[in-house]
Symmetry: C2
Subunit: 410 residues, 2 copies
């Protein structure tokens, strides 16, 4: 019997622990697996041999349920990329030696496109060195929803549900005064605008926000933005704007950089800030009405109390599937979600060669953005809709959600 | 039979509509009341005669339940203060004429300390002009929790629950990397630190945040702050700080002003920003580790999907009580919560002369802040604890909470 090792990598999300849960459940229930180990802080934890046994920690259903409602990576994370093995063979040798020491036959790495680079390099190293008894599989994770080959990514649906909920609440908040006011809300995403696009679901129950949506896939023009805001202010007093942190001008420069020269505050200071803060200052100077900026910041990736049931369910399934594929001998692949139909929503789990995924970014199809570049289309709404469906019971104690903590390895 | 008029004023909260709901329920059920009217945008809506009948709009339990889970002021709000009546008698005459036109015998104004100024002035005007058939009562509302004479304020408990929940989630988020990092979270409150103090409940289930809490009642020293952060970094890698937007130095100047000279970014630009953003830059320059700032911004006052059941219940009761007192002839008073005991938590509703409340601010007792000025005491925790207890079922449709919308008056 072999053991299974799991680790988490990259930025936190509300669903990455559900995928961990799926891996553990498969490991606990499969007759081919003896022990399930977790490496702390991703690949760094393997190199440093910070390995803990998870069987005993997480064998009861209550702990697994709490793990699923715990945001961020319970095993810790890292942002480390392995160098090509020709340059740092010692790292690969160390990893394999740790695998040997713990009798690891299966390694599941949960993460985004950088983490899939690690899966690719490790699988390639094993193949080139005739290490055929260790299978390495990736399980996707990223709120950014920018992994290739999978319909969508675990963590994205919960972040999208938080964003839609928050826009619907902010719409109520901003509509109370009978004065012209602009609220600019910055959403995460430097290279892909999926999260910003999901703000459109804030309107789904008739909510008034967002009025304008700017994703980073189309060049952003400050003049057109000002025109859009003026047009909206002519229709209504409270205008709410969703904007990707990564909006860029026609030359591909981040708007926050190219605006440095344009935007100075009342005292002539230049302002160092994000996209929304910049646009706040632009509106203040060029339109002159009440204006404020809001960053959804860490909350959009860790608000597990309002997680999407669909997302948590699929994330868990992907974890199970990644472990299952590894156990059946697959290596150098990532588990993916394939959408079979949108109405009704149906999907299946599959797997794809890691080369097609590692280090690549999936952006929004340009025809899912409207002609004017200030909103998204019906196709986008239909794509997003199933991903935020369903609410989960969240266990509270003392008025605050309960989270599961894995003790730190020595 | 007389009619009852209700209006909302001041900043939004997750509970102000529960108080509105309580007023309406009392109005619908009391045999002395014919119609319940709402004025839109507070006292401004009375002056502009933007009055709508609420009986038909809100007579079914489902609508009232949706109203209670709708953040912000469903009737709209305003920030208008009446001038002394000697200077603007026409405004008072206009208000009374609108009251007469709609046969208003009872006016309930839901709001904070500025709104209670309106209650005081209107009640005084009526008394001085022998208008004895109109009773004017205040119902408290403010997430800031800074109204005198009431143990706490409707809206505060829900904001505190959001803050505690968010700190517990941010703690999970920030603890994933094995690197020293400081996260500074700015909480609302320019004059009173109650909301910032409520972050302490993020630790109640064993959570790791916040590590340091700075409220605006004690002078803030940047040097002591840096020392505190360095001390914490010596113990743990992820340090999370809660800070009031209104922290001031020993001379009573907002830290954001007095720091303008000290904090310049890498390019020598001065930075225009809030307290957390300033302190972020200070940590970056003086300590040099990874640092980020987060503003809880609008979300802390409108996140009704995670409202406190205790808060919504009490807010509704206060609305009922304010209407009840008005109907029994009380005027120029505000309904208040009196805490009878903390363990077990028991309270009763009473009312207090408006003069004791209007334009005053209740700050944190200094002995509820620790000696070092970087945390709160056990008394504070015990005071806060009952206010965030309980979760409410929230009605979602299409994956997003449903909100109630009152149509706009012509």
């Amino acid at each position: 019997m072999k053991n299974l090792l799991v680790a988490q990598s990259g930025g936190p999300s509300a669903a990455i622990n559900a995928t961990l849960c799926g891996v553990i459940e498969k490991g606990l229930s499969d007759k081919n697996i003896d022990k399930v180990y977790g490496a702390q802080n991703g690949i760094m934890g393997i190199l440093a041999e910070r390995i803990i046994e998870l069987n005993s920690l997480l064998s009861d259903p209550q702990s697994l349920q709490l793990l699923c409602q715990t945001p961020s990576s319970a095993l810790g994370s890292c942002r480390m990329k392995l160098s090509p093995w020709e340059e740092s063979a010692f790292e690969f040798e160390k990893i394999i030696s740790v695998f040997r020491k713990y009798h690891i036959g299966y390694f599941i790495y949960i993460g985004g496109n950088d983490s899939m680079d690690t899966v690719q390099k490790l699988a390639t190293y094993c193949r080139l060195h005739n290490i055929n008894d260790i299978c390495i599989m990736g399980a996707p994770k990223t709120i950014d929803n920018d992994l290739m080959e999978t319909d969508h990514c675990p963590g994205f649906g919960s972040a999208a549900k938080y964003i839609a909920t928050t826009f619907s609440e902010i719409a109520c908040d901003c509509n109370v005064y009978a004065l012209p006011a602009v609220t600019i809300v910055e959403v995460m995403g430097r290279d892909a605008g999926w999260l910003t696009a999901s703000s459109v679901l804030g309107r789904i129950n008739g909510g008034a926000a967002p009025d304008l949506i700017y994703v980073c896939e189309k060049p952003f023009s400050v003049d057109r933005f000002l025109e859009d805001v003026r047009d909206k202010l002519a229709e209504k007093h409270a205008v709410i704007v969703a904007v990707s942190e990564g909006i860029k001008n026609e030359n591909g420069e981040y708007i926050t950089e190219c605006l440095q020269n344009r935007t100075t505050d009342a005292f002539g200071h230049k302002i160092l800030a994000g996209a929304a803060r910049f646009l706040e200052e632009v509106v203040r100077q060029e339109i002159g009405c009440k204006v404020r900026s809001v960053e959804l910041n860490l909350m959009q990736r860790c608000a597990s109390h309002v997680a999407s049931a669909a997302d948590i369910y699929e994330s868990r399934l992907l974890g199970m599937a990644a472990a299952d594929y590894a156990i059946t001998g697959e290596t150098g692949k990532m588990a993916v979600i394939k959408r079979i139909s949108t109405k009704p929503y149906r999907f299946e789990i599959g797997f794809v060669e890691i080369e097609k995924i590692a280090n690549k970014v999936k952006t929004i199809p340009l025809d899912w953005i409207n002609q004017e570049g200030n909103d998204v289309t019906q196709e986008m709404i239909e794509y997003l809709f199933p991903l935020i469906q369903g609410e989960l019971p969240c266990t509270y104690e003392n008025g605050v959600p309960v989270h599961f903590r894995i003790p730190t390895a020595k």
